[in-house]
């Protein structure tokens, strides 16, 4: 991090700085304390009987002010980096301060990290302080997509608080969803099914939710059951959602279901492995898996 100028420029900076400070020192001393500093009036014009042009220094407190600034500058340049490549008696650097803060942070949270790593999810859920942290992590990292209450939104981002899980609701599965992300791909079927077929399949999907026992049409068994299951229960390995739950990622309207069947969907959840640490991920898993699975 210490990124100091090279030799020539270090010298350049140091020389100009020192010469300017010395020059300023000479200037104020000679203005205030040399023999000629007494008030002397030139031969210039006189107005209103007594007013004449003079050449006087500014009030004396200016001298003290400038002198104090000079002293502060010199002390600063001795303690902190600034004079060429000299890094200052305190060895202070922005990067060094940052690293120290990070180290202090790691120490401060070391204990909590161990506690979380060794605890059951049930225990974590019973700890209000930890659940509050989990909620703020969620608010920062996840809420823009899944909503502040994890209630899902925009008919694009799933509800994580209900008991319906596309990719499985066991802690291990939820952790996998968070770590590596998920991409659910359903291709469009309009070419295969035709308009009438899409319409028919839409109606079937809608009845499935109301009456799960409805016998599937041939086309469903042929084209859909491999992923969504013969009974429409879905398949968490493929991320194929249940069609009997009545809960829809993309909304339950005819138009939305038809859109999915005809044109397909690609739902993408980014992976958070690189943005969150193990403790944060475990807290999120505890937060999200409290409501069981169906």
């Amino acid at each position: 991090m210490a990124d100091m100028p090279t030799d020539f420029w270090a010298g350049w900076i140091a020389v100009i700085t020192v010469v300017s400070l010395a020059g300023l020192g000479w200037l104020i001393f000679s203005i205030y304390f040399s023999a000629e500093s007494a008030d002397e009036h030139g031969d210039g014009p006189v107005w209103d009987e007594t007013l004449r042009e003079g050449s006087n220094p500014a009030p004396l407190w200016w001298f003290w002010m400038i002198l104090a600034l000079l002293v502060i500058s010199v002390v600063y340049l001795m303690l902190y980096p600034g004079l060429g490549s000299y890094s200052g008696a305190l060895r202070w650097s922005q990067g060094g301060r940052f690293d120290a803060n990070v180290a202090a942070y790691e120490t401060e949270f070391g204990g909590i990290r161990e506690l979380v790593a060794g605890a059951q999810l049930e225990t974590l859920r019973g700890n209000p302080a930890l659940m509050k942290s989990a909620q703020s992590i969620f608010a920062r990292q996840c809420a823009v997509c899944h909503g502040y209450e994890a209630e899902g939104q925009a008919n694009l981002f799933p509800n994580l608080m209900d008991a319906h899980w596309q990719w499985g609701g066991e802690p291990g599965q939820v952790e996998q969803s968070i770590r590596a992300g998920r991409t659910g791909i359903m291709v469009g079927w309009s070419a295969v099914l035709g308009d009438a077929g899409v319409e028919q399949m839409t109606q079937y999907v809608k009845t499935l939710a109301a009456q799960p026992d409805t016998a599937p049409p041939l086309q469903y068994t042929q084209f859909c059951s491999a992923c969504h299951g013969p009974d429409g229960a879905g398949n968490p390995v493929l991320g194929a959602p249940s069609l009997v739950s009545g809960v829809y990622l993309y909304g339950g309207s005819d138009a939305a279901i038809k859109h999915t069947i005809a044109l397909g969907r690609t739902g993408e959840m980014p992976g958070f492995e690189n943005r969150l640490d193990d403790t944060q991920i475990k807290l999120l898993v505890a937060l999200l898996t409290g409501n069981g699975t169906e």
Binding site: D3, P5, T6, W9, W12, I13, I16, T17, S20, W26, L27, I28, F29, S30, I31, S34, E36, S37, S55, P57, Q94, G95, F98, N101, V102, Y105, R140, A143, V144, C145, Y148, Q153, A154, L156, F157, E268, M269, P270, N274, R275, D277
Partner: protein, 207 residues
Amino acid sequence: MNGLGLHQRLERNAGLLIFGILFVSAIGGLVQVLPSIFQESLSQPAANTRPYGALELVGRDIYIREGCGTCHSQQVRPLLAEVKRYGPYSRAGESVYDRPFLWGSKRTGPDLHRIGGRYTDTWHRVHLLDPRSVVNNSIMPAYPWLAERAANADGDIQLRLKVLRRLGHPYTDADIESAPAKLEGLTEIDAVIAYLQQLGAGLGAEQ
């Protein structure tokens, strides 16, 4: 001669006074600005930094045009809280292909220097078209027109690349030749998303 005498001479000679003022005001620049122009870590691209592709460049110009920078900074400061929130702090070398740089100084919305890869293209599209549909109390304006205008509506992408090449950005003839094709069929919103998705990408999220 002493300081007062010098002062009198300066005050009575306008040319000398002008020179004196210029000289004194130049000292700060000579010490602070001039050496940094020659400092490698400030003038060489960082490991994750490359010249903008045609689509990203159009997106960047739209970002400037729409004033996104008045609400969003692109500068993660080396402070623990910021690094925890946004990702690794910004390096000088990451801005060498930014003319002008978009560091900004006002955060009405969050910093965007590490936004690349954080969300999906779908999210950005929904959010730019209607921020309230995903962040219900957002005060960010909606930008529906971005989805209507073609990315190369101005038709001057080759000129923009040539100007940057003149300024030292390493675009090849092939880059410039193929630029219009890369914008073909895309709208301004695609360009903005492409620009956002490469911001800060390529650095590990943790230090």
